[in-house]
């Protein structure tokens, strides 16, 4: 089985089908991330996954092969989640409606989804990466483009909210 980095290299040399292999390989992972970030919103999670793959392809040339593709993809997914959430809130502020357009579809551990609901977008993402995916602080910092100190303070703020 070819590594992600080899597939990226082949995609960049014009074999777009290799990107399809990468999509298939990481589809579950990105969908799971989306489900956890959005507290079980399937539709929103699918949008995050799709946008992340499209954005990753767009910026594939900027991928550093010395780093892990999955971690790079995670950073893109976090950014997509934030961007889509922002767009969604703008939409909601324009149209006064009682229900959100993204309806929650709790298809997993509802306890976890209820748990992270009080957290802000970036806190949700960082908390999930730290405790569910067991990323190290420096890895999260590198992934989301923040300083380690900022990541630590966001995690401690999130833990305070959850206590």
């Amino acid at each position: 089985m070819e590594t992600d980095e080899v597939l990226v290299d082949r995609t960049l040399s014009g074999e777009i089908d290799c990107y399809g292999v990468l999509v298939q390989r990481h589809a579950d992972y990105l969908f799971g991330l989306g489900m956890r970030f959005t507290a079980g919103n399937r539709e929103f999670a699918e949008d995050i996954s799709q946008q992340s793959f499209l954005r990753a392809y767009k910026y594939l040339k900027s991928f550093n092969p010395k780093k892990k593709f999955k971690q790079w993809l995670t950073g893109i997914a976090v950014n997509c989640y934030k961007d889509l959430s922002r767009k969604e809130s703008q939409y909601l502020s324009l149209e006064v409606i009682d229900e959100p357009s993204y309806t929650p579809d709790l298809g997993g551990n509802t306890g976890f989804f209820e748990l992270i609901k009080p957290l802000a977008e970036d806190e949700r993402a960082i908390f999930t990466l730290r405790y569910v995916y067991e990323y190290r602080i420096d890895e999260i910092a590198e992934t989301v483009g923040l300083k380690s100190g900022t990541v630590k303070s966001k995690i401690s703020r999130a833990l305070e909210k959850l206590r």
């Binding site: 990107y19 298939q24 579950d28 969908f31 306890g111 959850l162 206590r163």
Partner: protein
Amino acid sequence: MNRLEAIIEKEKEVSYSQEDKDIFGSHILILIYQEQESKKFKIKLCLGLFLGMGIMSFSFSAINEVVNDFAVGLSNVMAGDFTTVAILSYGLSFVLLALLKKTDFIFN
């Protein structure tokens, strides 16, 4: 904290899977192809417009020259005709007047 840890531990055991992964993968590739084709089309359109504008401006300048030449020619022709017509008409009227006088002279 134990409750928090228990929830997190339980969540780690949950696995999520993207429905219809094959279709999802194909959909992503189709979107990428579409994007690429749209980019190519935009580039072609820009090039076409640029070339079209160039050809149009060249054609307009050429047409303009022809029209200018024609207008100048026409005005020359018209100016020439006007003078000729004026000379001829004045000449003719003078001859007619002369003839009229001559007829008086003839008839008288």
